[in-house]
């Protein structure tokens, strides 16, 4: 293992994060606060408790997931797309590194940023609502795994994308709808039966459900299934990335 290389990539990527700290840090805080004002205070006051949890608190896990997923994807996809775009990828391709080291560096950094933002949102939420975390270790595991798997997914998007538009395409057209319809702001059991069935095909449902369970002990799907879903998604992304580097698809002619 070329640990120096992993470290170099990681440090370089984190430096980009700290350079844009305002945008990385302040924007999730502001948007979370806005969600609380709209959903928590304005609308939430008219909604009864959801399965014994106040609506304001109920949406916290979903809000964190929403930001963490989109941040992990955008950081990782940009991290690898930008060198392709400006041509500095040549150095990565000519360096004595293998795919695992490149992935660990870029995805590790993107996941760290997403994790950081997730924690910031959690902290911001605690200012608005009373939060209890019943299973803190499970919460952390879900959070870290989500950061990692979506950073892996973002890495794939970044390699696939041929321009900035494509870079935004999948997050905008697929990920955001899946997250919104994945029970971030409601319990699946609140839906009519048909939509409940459809929802179970949405992978994000399993993540949000598992993550919410770690807070309140409430879940739409069994916790084991949630873990299986996130584990399976991580493995799938890893397999795709392994194939990308093996064939050189979109990076090495």
């Amino acid at each position: 293992m070329n640990w120096q290389a992993i470290r170099a990539i990681y440090v370089f990527e984190m430096a980009r994060f700290f350079r844009t700290l305002l945008q990385s840090f302040v924007s999730p805080v502001i948007s979370t606060s806005l969600y609380f004002v709209v959903f928590g205070a304005a609308i939430g006051s008219r909604i009864d408790q959801v399965e014994g949890v106040s609506y304001g608190a109920f949406i916290v896990p979903g809000l964190i997931m929403l930001s963490v997923m989109t941040q992990a994807i955008s950081n990782a996809s940009f991290g690898i797309y930008f060198p392709k775009f400006i041509g500095t990828i040549y150095e990565l391709l000519s360096a004595p590194v293998n795919f695992l080291e490149i992935v660990l560096g870029y995805v590790g950094a993107a996941a760290t940023k997403a994790l950081f933002i997730g924690i910031v949102i959690l902290g911001t939420s605690a200012l608005f609502v009373d939060l209890t975390i019943q299973h803190p270790i499970a919460m952390l595991v879900f959070l870290v795994l989500t950061c990692l798997s979506f950073a892996l997914f973002g890495f794939i998007i970044g390699i696939w994308a041929g321009n900035f538009e494509q870079l935004q395409l999948i997050p905008l057209l697929i990920v955001t709808p899946l997250v919104f319809l994945g029970g971030s702001f409601y319990s699946i059991s609140m839906l009519p039966p048909v939509w409940q069935t459809i929802s179970f095909f949405n992978p994000v449902v399993y993540l949000v459900s598992g993550f919410r369970w770690s807070f309140f002990g409430l879940a739409d799907v069994p916790i084991g299934l949630s873990l299986l879903a996130i584990g399976g998604f991580t493995m799938l992304c890893l397999a795709i990335i392994w194939w990308i580097f093996k064939t050189g698809w979109r990076i090495r002619q």
Binding site: N2, W3, Q4, A5, R7, A8, I9, V11, F12, A15, R16, R19, F82, P83, I86, G87, T88, Y90, E91, L92, L93, S94, A95, P96, V97, N98, G248, R252, Q253
Partner: protein, 310 residues
């Protein structure tokens, strides 16, 4: 000892275009090899294939005995690459991007070495500047600093002086000479022939994906180099005297100058006989001048010969 061995390398792109058609080349340790060729000759493809940016379709390449495909770690850790395009992250600071390169190649932190490299390239004062604040020439130096940061044994410079001013070109040549002294093997591509002439030990000519020739610069120039003898006369000769008609002389400058072309590789150049015959014909010499053909003439000759053959 050969540092880089390229044998029978072919590279065909997905569209079917064959950028390299069975190139073979041995690069000796510690030499400066200049690869000359027109645009699209395959220079960059050859370098990219050695460095791992593209994969060869067939054939093998080793660097320091390490195969670039099967033992890419061994091969690549010996190689530094200065690309033709200025590929740098505009918002990054000079020192960070150089430090990144060193780490990427698996080398531990060495601030003293980085300082030495940056000083040598007159970049030390700019180390905390963002890349986008630098001039084009400075950016090119940053690319070199990045390649040197991991102490390569072999350095590839892909058209290092394309579009740089005369002063920077001289600096670049000095840097290359300094690296050679330190034992680094250097391969540079260029289409400036005077550059190859000025700094290379050996010269390779590449065109249309084939390496047409690789030779010691001096040997190449003597072997293929034709010389011209220019004979200036006291009185202009309107036409050649009959006795000199079959000597292949050319009249220039209204009969003031006679030009004789000869091959320096031959045992007898025929100069002595020619001079005697000229004076026997009653012409009075005022001055003599010889001129060696430049590499450019050789190069143009080779490339056009290949085109004729095709």
């Amino acid at each position: 000892m050969s540092m880089v061995q390229i044998s029978n390398v072919r590279k065909a792109y997905a569209g079917g275009f064959e950028a390299l058609k069975g190139a073979s080349l041995d690069i000796h340790e510690g030499e400066i090899l200049a690869l000359l060729g027109p645009n699209g000759a395959g220079k960059t493809t050859l370098i990219s294939t050695i460095c791992g940016i593209t994969q060869p379709t067939s054939g093998t390449i080793t660097v320091g005995g390490h195969d670039v495909v099967t033992d890419y770690r061994g091969a690549r850790s010996l190689v530094g690459l200065v690309p033709q395009e200025i590929n740098l992250e505009p918002f990054e600071r000079v020192i960070n991007t150089v430090r990144f390169s060193r780490g990427l190649f698996g080398k531990p932190k060495d601030n003293a070495l980085l300082e030495r490299i940056l000083r040598q390239l007159s970049l030390w004062d700019k180390r905390d500047n963002r890349i986008m604040e630098l001039s084009g020439g400075m950016k090119r130096r940053v690319l070199i600093a990045k390649a040197l940061a991991h102490e390569p044994r072999v350095l590839f410079l892909d058209e290092p002086t394309a579009g740089v001013d005369v002063e920077l070109r001289r600096d670049m040549w000095d840097i290359v000479a300094g690296l050679k002294e330190a034992g680094v093997t250097i391969i540079l591509t260029t289409h400036y022939i005077e550059e190859a002439e000025a700094i290379a030990d050996r010269i390779g000519v590449i065109n249309k994906g084939e390496i047409l020739l690789v030779e010691e610069k001096t040997a190449l120039m003597t072997r293929l180099g034709q010389k011209e003898l220019r004979i200036e006369l006291h009185e202009p000769a309107a036409e050649l005297p009959a006795s000199l008609a079959d000597r292949g002389l050319r009249i220039e400058e209204g009969g003031q100058v006679l030009v004789y072309t000869y091959d320096t590789g031959q045992d007898r150049t025929g100069i002595a006989t020619l001079i005697r015959e000229i004076s026997e014909a009653g012409l009075v010499l005022r001055d003599l001048q010889t001129r060696q053909n430049s590499l450019e003439d050789i190069f143009v000759g080779l490339v056009s010969k290949q085109e004729d053959a095709a």
